[in-house]
C-alpha cells in the first residue's frame, strides 16, 4: 500500500469532469484507491462520494492505492490533480 498527501492544483479541482476522469483512471487499475479530505475517506471509484467531498483547487487531499499496480495508479492520479507537476 502506498499513500501520498498532496494539494489539488488542476484548474477545476474535482468538479464533475475531472472527478469523473479520476474515477475512470481508478477503474482502469486493479489497485483499490481511496481519497481522503480532512476526516472523510471515500472509495476512489465512487464519483458521487468524491463529489460530496467538494474538492476545489488548493485543497489538501490524501490518495491511497493498494494493489499489484499501485505505483502506476498513483502516478496517473497525481498527474490528473497536479497537471504541471508538484509545486
Amino acid at each position: 500500500m502506498i499513500q501520498k498527501n498532496l494539494s489539488v492544483l488542476n484548474e477545476e479541482g474535482l468538479h464533475t469532469r475531472p472527478a469523473n476522469e479520476f474515477v475512470r483512471i481508478v477503474k482502469g487499475f486493479e489497485a483499490v484507491v481511496t481519497l481522503t479530505k480532512g476526516e472523510r475517506e471515500v472509495p476512489g471509484k465512487s464519483l458521487l462520494k468524491i463529489m460530496k467531498l467538494g474538492i476545489v483547487t488548493g485543497d489538501e487531499v490524501t490518495i491511497t492505492c493498494d494493489g499489484s499496480d499501485e505505483e502506476a495508479a498513483m502516478e496517473a492520479l497525481v498527474r490528473l490533480v497536479q497537471p504541471g507537476g508538484t509545486a
Binding site: 464533475t16 469532469r17 469523473n20 474515477v23 465512487s46 464519483l47 458521487l48 460530496k52 467538494g54 476545489v56
Partner: protein
C-alpha cells in the same frame, strides 16, 4: 378552435409534441398498474419487493440508454466539454452508490421504487447544498434532475426528450422556460403554443426572432390536446385549431408554402434595400440576436451589425458555466456573420425572469429589484473574468466587438468592467444599457465614461412606471408612449449627445414601426431590432422624412394631459406609412 395571444406571426401546422416535466406520482395503486385513479400509497407489500427491485433496475437501464444518446447529441451539437459533464451524470446513474441506497430503501422500508429514487436524490442534493464551494452546492440540481429522470423511466418505461423531436412538431407546453427553449431542435419546430406567458415572454421573443409562429396564453391547452394530434397554430390571429383533419393538411400545406414564399420575397427585398429615410438620411439599423445562427439570418436581411447579443442564451445552452473557449467561439461566429459591422455583446444578464438553472440563485422577495443584470456577474468574480476574457480574445483577433453592461445604476459598474479589461491589456469599447431610473437621472456622468449608450426599453418602461408587464391586472398601465417614457428618452439622448456619445435602442420599442419612429423623432442614432422585424422597420423608415419626425417630436414633448399616452400613440401611428408592404408590390 382555441384562442390565445398572437405572439409570433405566421401559420404552422403539424403534430403536437407536449413538452413538460412528466408528473411521476410518488405512490401507486398496485404493482404494474400506473395511471389508475385511486389513493396512491408509497409503500409496497413485502411479496412485491422482488418486482420493485426489478422495476428500479429496468428504470436505471432505460435512463442509461437515454443518457448515452444525449451524450452523443451534446457532443455533436455543443461540444466535448459539455458532453463530458453528462458522462459524469451517466457514471452516477449506473453507480453502486445509487443502487445500494435505493435497494436498501426498497427492501427495508418497503418503499416503492420511484419514491426510493426521489428520496435518495433529495437527501444527496441536501448534502451538496451544505458544501462550501458554490460550484458543488449547484450540483444539487444535477442530482435532483438525475433522480427525476430515473423515476420517470421507472414509472413510464421511457424518458421524454425535448431534443428528439419528429419533423414538423408543434410544441405545446404549459410554459416554456428559457432553458427548455434553448435546448429545442428548432429546425423541427413548426409552431409553438403555450398556456402561460404573453408577447414578451422569452418563448415568444425567441419564436419571433426565429420566425416560428407562436401563440401564448391559451388556457387549458395542454389538457385539450393529445400527443401527435394534428393542430394548426395561427400566430397572426392568435388561435390554435385542434379540429384539423388529415384532408385539411393539403390546404394548410399550400398556405404554409405561400407563407414561406412571402417570407422569401421579404428577405430578398430587405437585403437589397437600405434603412434610409425618404429624404436620404441613413439610419443605423442593427439586430438583436441570441446565437450565431440568428446572426446569419440577420445578415441575410441586411442588418448593419448586432446591437444586442443576448449572451444569456449562450449560457442557457450549457448545463454549467461555459469557459473562455466556448464563449469566444460563439462570439466569433456572430462577428463573422455580420462582418465588417460591429457586434455588441451584453454581459450575462440572468436572474428575475431569466433564471440560469445551474446558477442556483437564492429565492428573492423582489427578483426584479434583486441580483440580476451586472449584479449577478459582479458577485461571481470567476465568471465575470471569464466572460470579459472571451470577449477581449475575440477583439484581439481583430473583430469589432464591444461590451455592454446591463442594469447599470452607477459609475462604479462601468469603472469595474474597464479595470478588468485594462488589467488584461484590452481596450474593447465599453457601453451601458440604460434601463434603470437611476441611469436616466445620472446620464451625463455615465455617458462621459462610456463609449456608447443603448436604451433597454422593456425594463426601463417597467421601472419608470412601476408596472409589471407580465401581470395581467396592471399590464394595461404599461405604455411605451407614457409622457415619463418620452421624457426619459429625450433626457437620455440630450445628456449623451452633450458628451458626444451615440445613443442606440435595443429594447422592444425599436422593433415596432410606431415606437421606432418615436425613438428616431426623439433623436436616437441607432435602432437594434429583432431579426424578424428588420424588413418591416426598413419599409417604415423609407416612407418617412426628417421634417415629419421633427414635427412628431414637438407633439410628443408637448402632450402632458390626461390622454397623453393615447395621443402620442396616435400621432406616431399616423406617421407609419400605410398601403401594401413593398415586397408584395408588382
Amino acid at each position: 378552435m382555441m384562442k390565445g395571444i398572437a405572439s409570433s406571426p405566421g401559420i404552422g401546422a403539424g403534430r403536437v409534441f407536449i413538452l413538460h416535466e412528466r408528473e411521476v406520482p410518488l405512490g401507486r395503486t398496485g404493482p404494474n398498474s400506473p395511471g389508475e385513479d385511486a389513493a396512491p400509497r408509497q409503500t409496497h407489500a413485502r411479496r412485491e419487493t422482488e418486482s420493485e427491485l426489478e422495476r428500479f433496475h429496468r428504470g436505471v437501464k432505460v435512463t442509461s440508454r437515454y443518457y448515452e444518446s444525449l451524450i452523443e447529441r451534446v457532443r455533436k451539437n455543443v461540444g466535448d466539454d459539455e458532453a463530458e459533464i453528462f458522462e459524469g451524470h451517466l457514471e452516477i446513474i449506473t453507480s453502486d452508490d445509487i443502487a445500494e441506497a435505493v435497494e436498501e430503501m426498497i427492501m427495508k422500508d418497503l418503499a416503492i421504487a420511484e419514491q426510493a429514487v426521489v428520496t435518495f436524490a433529495e437527501t444527496t442534493a441536501g448534502e451538496f447544498e451544505e458544501l462550501e464551494s458554490e460550484y458543488f452546492r449547484q450540483r444539487a440540481g444535477d442530482i435532483r434532475d438525475i433522480g427525476r429522470r430515473i423515476a420517470e423511466a421507472i414509472y413510464y418505461g421511457s424518458i421524454t426528450d425535448p431534443g428528439a423531436l419528429p419533423e414538423n412538431s408543434v410544441i405545446v407546453a404549459e410554459e416554456l422556460t428559457p432553458s427548455a427553449t434553448a435546448r429545442l431542435d428548432i429546425k423541427k419546430v413548426a409552431a409553438i403554443a403555450t398556456e402561460k406567458g404573453g408577447r414578451t415572454s422569452h418563448a415568444a421573443i425567441l419564436a419571433r426572432s426565429l420566425s416560428i409562429p407562436c401563440v401564448t396564453g391559451v388556457e387549458g391547452l395542454v389538457s385539450a390536446v393529445r400527443s401527435s394530434q394534428l393542430v394548426m397554430v395561427d400566430g397572426d390571429a392568435g388561435t390554435v385549431d385542434t379540429a384539423i383533419a388529415e384532408d385539411d393538411l393539403t390546404e394548410i400545406t399550400a398556405r404554409m408554402q405561400k407563407n414561406r414564399e412571402a417570407i422569401r420575397h421579404r428577405m430578398v427585398w430587405s437585403h437589397k434595400h437600405s434603412a434610409t429615410l425618404s429624404d436620404g438620411e441613413e439610419i443605423h439599423l442593427a439586430a438583436n440576436v441570441g446565437s450565431g445562427d440568428e446572426a446569419k439570418m440577420a445578415a441575410s436581411l441586411g442588418a448593419r451589425g448586432v446591437g444586442l447579443f443576448r449572451s444569456e442564451f449562450l449560457f442557457m445552452r450549457y448545463s454549467d458555466f461555459p469557459g473562455v473557449k466556448q464563449q469566444a467561439d460563439e462570439y466569433r461566429r456572430v462577428c463573422e456573420a455580420l462582418a465588417p459591422h460591429p457586434v455588441i455583446v451584453r454581459l450575462l444578464d440572468c436572474g428575475a425572469d431569466k433564471p440560469l438553472p445551474y446558477a442556483r440563485q437564492t429565492t428573492e422577495d423582489n427578483p426584479f429589484l434583486g441580483e440580476r443584470g451586472i449584479r449577478f456577474l459582479m458577485a461571481r468574480d470567476e465568471q465575470f473574468h471569464i466572460q470579459l476574457k472571451a470577449i477581449a480574445q475575440v477583439a484581439a483577433e481583430g473583430h469589432p466587438i464591444k461590451v455592454m453592461i446591463p442594469m447599470v445604476i452607477s459609475v462604479d459598474e462601468i469603472e469595474t468592467v474597464r479595470e478588468v479589461l485594462t488589467a488584461s491589456g484590452s481596450d474593447v469599447p465599453v457601453g451601458i444599457m440604460v434601463e434603470t431610473p437611476a441611469s436616466v437621472l445620472t446620464i451625463g456622468a455615465l455617458a462621459s465614461r462610456s463609449d456608447f449608450i443603448s436604451i433597454g426599453t422593456n425594463d426601463l418602461v417597467q421601472y419608470l412606471l412601476a408596472v409589471d408587464r407580465g401581470n395581467a391586472r396592471v399590464a394595461s398601465l404599461y405604455s411605451e408612449f407614457h409622457p415619463a417614457v418620452i421624457g426619459a428618452v429625450d433626457q437620455i439622448v440630450r445628456g449623451s449627445h452633450k458628451e458626444g456619445i451615440h445613443v442606440g435602442v435595443c429594447g422592444d420599442m425599436a422593433s415596432h414601426p410606431d415606437t421606432a419612429l418615436t425613438l428616431l423623432a426623439l433623436g436616437v442614432d441607432e435602432l437594434s431590432v429583432s431579426v424578424s422585424a428588420i424588413p418591416d422597420i426598413k419599409a417604415c423608415l423609407r416612407g418617412v422624412d426628417r421634417s415629419s419626425l421633427d414635427a412628431l417630436r414637438a407633439e410628443l414633448l408637448g402632450n402632458t394631459g390626461r390622454h397623453a399616452s393615447d395621443e402620442n400613440r396616435r400621432a406616431a401611428a399616423a406617421l407609419v406609412p400605410s398601403g401594401p408592404v413593398p415586397w408584395e408590390e408588382t
